[in-house]
């Protein structure tokens, strides 16, 4: 496993520390999907603060990770996107709608709290 996936309460936190190859991105997707099911996580945070660039493949993959995670019962928040990276990402003209984002890990956790709480209320 190339990316450490930590467990924090109901949430999983994956912190990407270096640029991944396309293959490694797909591996991460499968890993996360598997871990969400096994640990019954309700939220997933992917920290990309260490990445200098997020290309269109990675951006699309993050989107598909989020959709996969939702199908498995977990909300996904991407955190730590740098200003330069954000500008580059919006210029790809990709559909970034599925991506929920927050400034940093702290913000991501409180966003997940709100998301999962609201889901709980909706369900009740």
């Amino acid at each position: 496993m190339l990316v450490a996936i930590l467990r924090q309460g109901d949430y999983l936190i994956a912190s990407i520390q270096f640029d991944l190859t396309d293959g490694q991105v797909l591996e991460l997707r499968d890993d996360l999907s598997d871990r969400i099911g096994r640990s019954r996580a309700r939220g997933l945070i992917i920290d990309v603060a260490a990445l200098d660039v997020i290309d269109s493949f990675v951006a699309r993959s993050l989107g598909s990770i989020a959709i996969t995670a939702r199908l498995r019962g977990a909300e996904t928040v991407i955190v730590g996107i740098e200003p330069d990276v954000a500008i580059a990402m919006v210029q790809f003209d990709l559909d970034l709608e599925p991506l929920r984002t927050a400034l940093d890990l702290d913000e991501g956790l409180s966003l997940l709290d709100r998301l999962t709480q609201r889901d709980g209320e909706d369900g009740a």
Binding site: I78, V79, I81, E82, P83, V85, A86, I87, M89, V90, Q91, L96, E97, L99, T101, A102, L103, D104, E107, G108, L111
Partner: protein
């Protein structure tokens, strides 16, 4: 023809000894007739209606300084002092609206005045006149070029500084509350400015940990497709950084333009004016206005 007999056909870059003595004679002549030539020059400047923004006294004192520097530059062959003076002069006269053609005009006038004086002085000896002019012309032209270039360079420097100042001033990102930024955009929004604005905004979002940014475009008169797309990208990039963007102050003209252009505005949260935008922003962050003296419940109603 022996080339040695025609030393004037091809003036060497270094002034030869014989020409140097001529140059000394020339300079002595210009110094002796300083008063007359200077007055002649001022008269020509007045006739040509140059430097209209300056008073006659100012023109006379500048003319004296330029004249002396000019003769010095002729004598030493070094234009550095003159260049420094021209820069300094430009710095003083540019804010008063002196144009490039005026500066070039007065320098060329001085060249003409002096050349005319040389014609008069040496008209009895065509050969000597020729050699005097050979010594004079390259130096005079070089001086004219130096002054003109110094003026233009100075002006460009001023323009650059002003552009820099406008860029800095025109896109302030202001924090109005904890985690709430406003970005008032005033003036013409073009692509470089839109890009710079996005970078500044994203930097501020990161530095202030902003949750909501209100982008107010009340002061923007028109917008085109490229800029509209930039705006959409700015909103989207802010979202990637974890901040919601609210656009306020769209004039009806701009709103109409955006609809006509078919810009996808589904991602954009817009509110009519800045006040409404701030209220919406506070609601998003979780503030609730409470009137002083009333119970919170009463104020909410």
């Amino acid at each position: 023809m022996n080339p040695d007999d025609q030393p004037l056909m091809d003036p060497p870059p270094q002034v030869p000894e014989v020409d140097r003595s001529l140059l000394h004679e020339l300079i002595a002549y210009l110094r002796d007739n300083r008063t007359e030539l200077r007055e002649e020059w001022v008269e020509r400047i007045t006739q040509a209606q140059l430097l209209g923004v300056m008073t006659p006294e100012e023109i006379f004192s500048e003319v004296t300084a330029v004249y002396d520097n000019y003769v010095d530059a002729l004598e030493t062959g070094s234009v550095e002092t003159l260049q420094a003076y021209a820069r300094d002069l430009s710095e003083r006269i540019i804010p008063r609206g002196v144009e490039t053609h005026e500066v070039l005009g007065i320098v060329l006038l001085l060249r003409d005045v002096l050349a005319r004086a040389l014609f008069v002085e040496y008209q009895h000896d065509a050969d000597l006149l020729n050699r005097i002019l050979d010594a004079y012309e390259p130096a005079a032209n070089r001086i004219a070029v130096t002054v003109g270039v110094s003026f233009v360079e100075e002006r460009e420097r001023v323009i650059r500084e002003q552009q820099e100042a406008i860029r800095e001033l025109s896109t302030p990102v202001l924090q109005v509350r904890e985690r709430l930024l406003i970005l008032p955009i005033i003036g013409v929004l073009d692509s470089p400015r839109a890009r710079q604005l996005t970078e500044q905004l994203l930097g501020a979002i990161q530095a202030n940990r902003a949750k909501v940014v209100v982008i107010d475009i009340t002061g923007v008169a028109t917008i085109d497709l490229t800029v509209a797309n930039h705006l959409v990208q700015t909103v989207e990039a802010s979202r990637l950084m974890g901040a919601s963007a609210i656009i306020t102050g769209l004039s009806s003209k701009i709103a109409q333009t955006l609809v006509d252009l078919g810009v996808d505005l589904s991602m954009m949260r817009t509110v009519g004016d800045l006040q409404g935008g701030l209220e919406e922003a506070e609601r998003l962050i979780g503030y609730r206005p409470i009137s002083k003296g009333n119970k919170p419940d009463a104020a909410a109603n």
